[in-house]
């Protein structure tokens, strides 16, 4: 067992290797630690949570060790969510439940408890108090700020122009210079990022 100091001095790669070697879920996947397996294939393992929120609470686990969702390759992610859908479907069919929750946490502050990325599928019943529902009204100023900044950020992420919600301009007649481009809804500057980050500091 390395000391805390040794852990701190490890490179990110060493730390990852250390976490992997000591990962409970990797041991469960290797069948070195016993678990209740409800589904298994070449890349995904589903087990019952031993401290469930409700009977039938399932953990969907990629067999490869990843710490966070963004590290997971696309095809593995597609498989994980497909299995999650099957698990949810199975709960609706086989358990006395009328709803399911998929819960994912990226990062300890979000409630991630294990260094091996996994997510929860939880059968739900009325008034089970497992998770709250959103209940806050976003202040108008913040909503406006998000509407100003996020379309351009999302467009940059997904590689498409922002949606045009204003009245469409008729196409310019031939042989006339194009009209000056309308001012974009949001300029992507560091300022706008600072603005939006400033909302939370």
């Amino acid at each position: 067992m390395p000391t805390e100091e040794e852990l701190e001095q490890m490179s990110p790669e060493e730390l990852a290797a250390y976490q992997k070697a000591n990962c409970l879920f990797c041991k469960i996947i290797a069948k070195e630690v016993q678990s209740k397996i409800v589904y298994e294939d070449e890349s995904v393992l589903c087990i019952l949570d031993i401290n469930p929120a409700a009977p039938g609470h399932v953990l969907v686990i990629p067999k490869e060790h990843y710490a966070l969702l963004p590290q997971i390759p696309e095809e593995v992610m597609a498989k994980l969510f497909l299995v999650a859908q099957h698990v949810s479907n199975a709960m609706l069919r086989a358990l006395d439940t009328q709803g399911t929750t998929l819960f994912l946490a990226n990062g300890a502050v979000a409630g991630q408890r294990s260094p091996h990325f996994l997510f929860h599928v939880i059968p739900r019943s009325e008034n089970d108090n497992i998770l709250p529902v959103p209940d806050k009204q976003l202040p108008d100023a913040q909503a406006q700020e998000f509407k100003r900044v996020l379309p351009a950020l999302l467009a940059r992420t997904f590689g498409q122009p922002p949606p045009i919600t204003e009245k469409k301009m008729p196409p310019p007649p031939p042989n006339t210079p194009a009209a000056p481009a309308p001012k974009p809804a949001a300029q992507l500057t560091d300022d706008s990022l600072d603005d939006i980050a400033g909302l939370f500091t």
Binding site: L82, G99, N106, I130
Partner: protein, 201 residues
């Protein structure tokens, strides 16, 4: 019956692609909370095809990363509230994407339980039986409910795919045969999912 969310996608979205739309939710857990919805009207998770699932959660992951960066979040949660008991509040399936900060005072943790052994075993045997032979290769199981054009729901004990599922696009081209269902020893109640579908606003 018009869907509130389908309407909002037309002029109140932050971003719209062919496959999905990103919007500000009406009620939020925290500022920066976004919702991601498939463009095609689907009520519950089980209706999404494998491809739709893959695209949707791939996008959710990218948006989650965007929130990390632009809002300097310390973590993110992805949440699917599937059905009324899970807190679904609009009749169109959405993924909640929630940025988290160390000091956000949001508690999304459920109290862990120790279940009596027989309850645990029962949920285990029912789920494994339901998932057995249902290999994600990977088609959703045959639907036991359908929604007609007007939003009403009809159901039959043994739906024949052609007659009872008008919205064939939401299903893969070849659905698994009834053989698997017949081999399942425990027959699930047919109306489990109907109960919550009917009550969606």
């Amino acid at each position: 019956m018009t869907c509130e969310l389908c309407e909002r996608m037309k002029n109140d979205a932050l971003f719209v692609s062919d496959a999905f739309a990103v919007l500000l939710p009406k009620k939020v857990f925290l500022p920066g909370h976004l919702i991601l919805a498939p463009r095609k009207h689907h009520v519950i998770l089980e209706e999404l095809s494998a491809e739709e699932l893959s695209v949707l959660f791939g996008a959710a992951n990218k948006i989650s990363s965007l929130l990390f960066d632009s809002l300097q979040a310390h973590g993110t949660n992805l949440l699917v509230r599937n059905g009324i008991p899970a807190g679904q509040d609009v009749g169109h399936i959405v993924i909640d994407i929630i940025p988290r900060w160390k000091t956000d005072n949001l508690n999304l943790q459920w109290p862990p339980q120790q279940l009596p052994a027989d309850v645990f075993e029962k949920s285990f045997s029912r789920l494994t039986a339901e998932l057995e032979g249902n290999i994600p290769g990977h088609k959703p199981k045959e639907e036991t409910y359908v929604m007609d054009e007007s939003g009403g729901i009809t159901t039959e004990e043994q739906p024949s795919p052609e007659q009872d599922i008008p919205d064939s696009q939401s299903l893969p081209e070849d659905t698994p045969t009834d053989k698997q269902a017949k081999n399942t020893p425990w027959k699930p109640p047919q109306d489990n999912r109907l109960r919550h579908l009917l009550r969606l606003p």
